[in-house]
Structure formats: C-alpha cells, structure tokens
C-alpha cells in the first residue's frame, strides 16, 4: 500500500531524512516513533506531497509521490502537525469547504460530513466556530477532515499532542478502530502510544530508521533497559554486595548518598537486571533477610531518550534492525 525506498531530504547541508526505506501493508497501523527533530514530520510531509524529496521516492496506493502527486493526494487523508485550521469557520462549514475542494458532490458530501462528525465525536460542537474550540476538539476536526473523503491511506502527524489524558485515550481508540479499513501511519514521540495502537513500529532517530518491529518486540527491548530502584537504610558497601549476589542481577550502583557507608542513613541503590527478568521479589527478600529497613522498591522503565541511545548503540553494533 505504501512503499518507501531510499527517501532523503536535505535542508541545505543538513540531512533531515537519510535514505529511509520501508513498506506498509494494506490495513496496517504503523507508528513512526522518534524524538523531536528525528525527521518524522519531514518524512510524512514528503509522503503527503507537501515537500519534494531530495532523492529517493515512494509510492502510495501504487501512485508515485513525485510524478503522480494529484492521485496520491486524492487517496490520502492527512492531519498535519499542530493541526492548522481556519479558526473563523464553523466546524461543518470547514468540513463542507474541504469536501468541495475534493470535488465531492453534494449528497456524498453531506453524508460523509454526518459520518465523520459522528465518528470523531463532534456532534456537540458541529455549529461552533473552530477558533472557540479546545485543542482536543480542534484535533478531532482535523481528524474528521482527514477522514472526510474516505481515503485509503491516512497519515497523522502527532495526533495526540496537546490532548488531555481522557482525550488521548479516546483518540487512540478512534485510531485503532480506523485500522483495517484504512492504512495508517502516525507519528509520535510517546512510546506507550505505539504500543497501544500500532501493529508495527518504525523507530527513527537522526533521520534514519534505527529499529523496526512489533510493539511486543519493542516492549521486550525496552524492558531490557529497565532498572529497579531500592531505597533502604543500611551500609552502602554491604547492601551493594548483598544485592550483587541476588540471581538475575547485573550491575548494582549506589546512587545516593554516593556510598559513604553510614549504617543509619537511607541510601538508594539501582539494580539492572541481566535480562528481561523481574528481580524485585528476590531483591526485597535479600534486604529483608539482612534486616535493613526498606522504604521503597520500584521498577523504572527506560525513558525514551535512553531507549533511543540504547537502540542506536545496538544498531551500530549489529546493523540488522528488529524484525522485517
């Protein structure tokens, strides 16, 4: 459905996107994951024919993004980053305008507007002026616009940015529901989002694809970098040695207060498990046995930045990405 090969974009001397290649099958929901400035938006803008690629190419629904941009754009629904809208228009007025731009005839237009208004939970605000709507509603108006002409391919650039948690959950539900009927690419810098809605994730950093795979594979590799934080009262050196002996524990560090070894102070130790293995129970038991008062024990997932550093480092070591 979407096939990208060696796609690159340079802004002057800066290479924003560096020879990206991937395929998306019909009905798949693919998450484009990366930190800010990774080249996500640039890639999506090239796919939507907004920016011409510097080199390489892509086809959407069999049409070339460069030579058949008109057909590509007819088959595409796009929600740009930050969701730009004409703020002086009313919701249905705006959707009607967009429908006319797409040359939909009146009956189809009215029918589709009804449908997307319903589908994106806009019924309550259909006659409101867009400028008076909250960010969450605006985002839905943008989404409704992208869905209006029932496109085969949907491209959503950070669809949940700026929404409150309840809206994020609703939007994710909506997006998940769209998979199957539509082929969908969405970009995000939130890892759990990909895990929640996508069939497949493409991790991009520094303009390059650094990992690809199913959310499960990503989750597994992320668990690798989790660490267990323990706060207890005990002599630093002894605690460290005791923890080191627990099975499944890799590296142990005393984070604070840098291990000066006073027995009556609370210290914090960080334990990295050897593999994706939960060591919390064992660790708790060991501390209990030694009679050190335990105040807290918690599993800390790697932040996205750590994850990217890790993934990029892995990539350098072994040039094959995840699955596919």
């Amino acid at each position: 459905m979407i096939s990208v090969s060696q796609l690159s974009k340079a802004y002057g001397p800066v290479l924003a996107v560096d020879r990206i290649s991937f395929d998306v099958k019909k009905g798949q929901v693919v998450g484009f994951l990366g930190p800010n400035g990774a080249g996500k938006s640039t890639t999506l803008r090239m796919l939507t024919c907004y920016l011409p690629p510097t080199s390489g190419g892509a086809t959407i629904n069999g049409f070339d993004i460069f030579h058949q941009s008109q057909q590509v754009r007819e088959n595409l629904g796009y929600l740009p980053e930050n969701c730009p809208l004409y703020t002086e228009m009313k919701v249905t007025e705006y959707l009607d305008f967009r429908g006319r731009l797409r040359k939909m005839d009146r009956p189809t237009r009215l029918k589709r507007i009804e449908y997307v208004v319903e589908r994106c939970w806009l019924s309550g605000v259909r006659d409101r002026v867009i400028g008076h709507l909250s960010k969450g509603y605006r985002q839905r108006v943008g989404l409704a616009d992208a869905l209006l002409h029932n496109p085969a391919v949907l491209i959503l650039d950070e669809p949940t940015v700026g929404l409150d948690p309840a809206q994020i959950i609703e939007t994710r539900k909506l997006i998940k529901g769209l998979g199957g009927d539509h082929t969908l690419i969405l970009s995000t810098h939130i890892l759990p989002e990909v895990e929640a809605v996508c069939d497949r994730a493409i991790v991009i950093a520094g303009g390059r694809i650094v990992a690809q795979g199913s959310p499960e594979e990503l989750r597994a590799s992320r668990r690798m970098q989790a660490r267990v934080l323990i706060e207890c009262k005990g002599p630093g050196e002894q605690v460290k040695n005791a923890l080191q002996r627990v099975s499944g524990v890799g590296k142990v560090e005393i984070i604070s207060p840098n291990g000066d070894g006073q027995a009556d102070k609370y210290i914090t130790a960080a334990v990295r498990p050897k593999e994706s293995y939960d060591v919390r129970e064992e660790v708790a038991r060991t501390i209990q046995q030694n009679g050190w008062p335990l105040r807290e024990i918690r599993l800390e997932h790697a932040t996205l930045e750590e994850f990217f550093v890790q993934v990029t480092a892995n990539q350098a070591a072994a040039p094959t990405g995840g699955a596919q």
Binding site: T48, Y50, E74, P84, Y86, F97
Partner: protein, 240 residues
C-alpha cells in the same frame, strides 16, 4: 483550476469575520463620500470624475491591507499545508485567492452605486461615462490585488506583505504621476515614455469615460504577470 471558486468563496466569506476589512470598508466609504461631495454640487456636471480620479490614491493604501493576509496568514498558521496536500494545484490557490479578494473589492465598491442613483435623481447623468469609470477602477483593483497577493506569498508576516505591496504600488502609481506633474517640461523623451506607463496615466482616461484598448490590455497583462509570478513563488517555496 476548477477548484479556484471554492477557495474564492471561502476567502470572500472570511473577510466578513475580519475587523481589518470593516476598517477598510469604513475608511473607503468615508473618503469616497467626501470626494462625491465635491462632485455633487449645484452647477457641476453630473458625473463622478472627481471620485474616480482620487479613488486610485486611496486604493494604493487600502488594497494592500485587504490582501496582506491572503497567503501570509496561511504561511503563519500552517493552513497552507492543508491546502497543498489537498488535490489542487498552486494555480487553484492563487486564482481562488485573487477572485476572493477581488470579490471583496467589489463589495467595497457596491455602496458607491448609491451615488449613481443620487446623480440620476438630481441630474442628467451619462451612464456610459460612469460605467467606464467603474471598469477602470475594477481594472486598477485587479492589478492592485494581484500585487498584494504576490507580496503576501513572499512572507509569513502580514505587516511585511502590506508594506512591500504599498511600496510597489507607490512605485508604479504615485511616483510616475509625481514626476510628470512636477517636471513634465524638463523630462527627456525617454523618461516621459517610461512615466507614461504609470498606472495613473493608464487609468485616467477611464475616469473621463474613454475606454482605450491599449489601457485595457495594460491592466490585464500586468495583472496576469503578477498572478503568474505568485504561482511561481508558491511552487518555489515548496523546494526551500
């Protein structure tokens, strides 16, 4: 290009939500009312010569303000992205915006038709002369709108768009007129030829009731040129 009317309609209706359009409308009516007062005196010929002749100076300032947001605002808010990723070409956008702004310009002119009615009631008026004047002012409006649109395509800032459009219009309208009226006798033939191509010289016959094909073509061609380079600017900005 068949999507231009949709853009034009949206553009025209969006004017009625913008305070600046109402300010322009009010200013235009106040000043043209004052000029009409000069025409509408006992003993004066029943015509609208004064109003047509002076209107052009007013338009040098009003039209750029009306046009400054046409594309600059799209760049600033990012809505241009939604337009460019819909299945329509740059020409659709430019022609649509042009027609929308020209539409509002016609709205600006509509209240002045009251003057025609007043003249008709109180005097013997030559409607052909007045029609020629309206044709002239429409042509000037088209040209000015296309210049304003061009400047608006170049920048994100509406202020920059307005100021640069006023500068261009000043250069092609006010400057040649000033040069000719101040020092016509001292001008060399070459400079006289150049200043003859000023907008005012091309326009003034219309306001007197004469429609000259040469003048007509002058406005149509120049408008088309500005629209064409605006399309090129939009195309080029994609590649930046």
């Amino acid at each position: 290009m068949n999507r231009a009317p949709t853009i034009a309609r949206r553009e025209l209706s969006s004017y009625f939500y913008s305070p600046i359009a109402y300010v322009a409308l009010t200013l235009f009516l106040a000043v043209s009312g004052f000029f009409f007062y000069q025409d509408f005196q006992p003993g004066q010929p029943a015509g609208m010569r004064t109003i047509f002749q002076y209107m052009i100076w007013l338009l040098v300032f009003i039209v750029p303000v009306l046009c400054m947001g046409l594309l600059a605002q799209e760049w600033a808010t990012g809505t241009i992205e939604t337009l460019m990723t819909a299945p329509l070409g740059e020409a659709d956008i430019v022609i649509g915006k042009f027609l929308g702004a020209l539409g509002f310009f016609v709205v600006l002119l509509l209240p002045t038709l009251v003057y025609v009615v007043l003249l008709k009631i109180f005097g013997h008026v030559d409607l052909n002369t007045i029609a020629a004047g309206y044709l002239g002012i429409l042509l000037v409006g088209s040209l000015f709108v296309s210049v304003g649109l061009f400047c608006s395509a170049l920048t994100k800032s509406q202020v920059v768009a307005a100021v640069s459009a006023i500068a261009i219009l000043f250069l092609i309208t006010v400057v040649p007129w000033l040069v000719q009226s101040q020092g016509a006798s001292t001008l060399s033939a070459r400079w006289r030829g150049i200043t003859d191509e000023g907008v005012y010289n091309q326009y003034v016959d219309f306001s007197k009731g004469t429609v000259d094909t040469g003048h007509l073509i002058f406005f149509l061609v120049l408008t088309a040129v500005f629209l064409f380079i605006t399309v090129k600017v939009l195309e080029a900005r994609r590649w930046k």
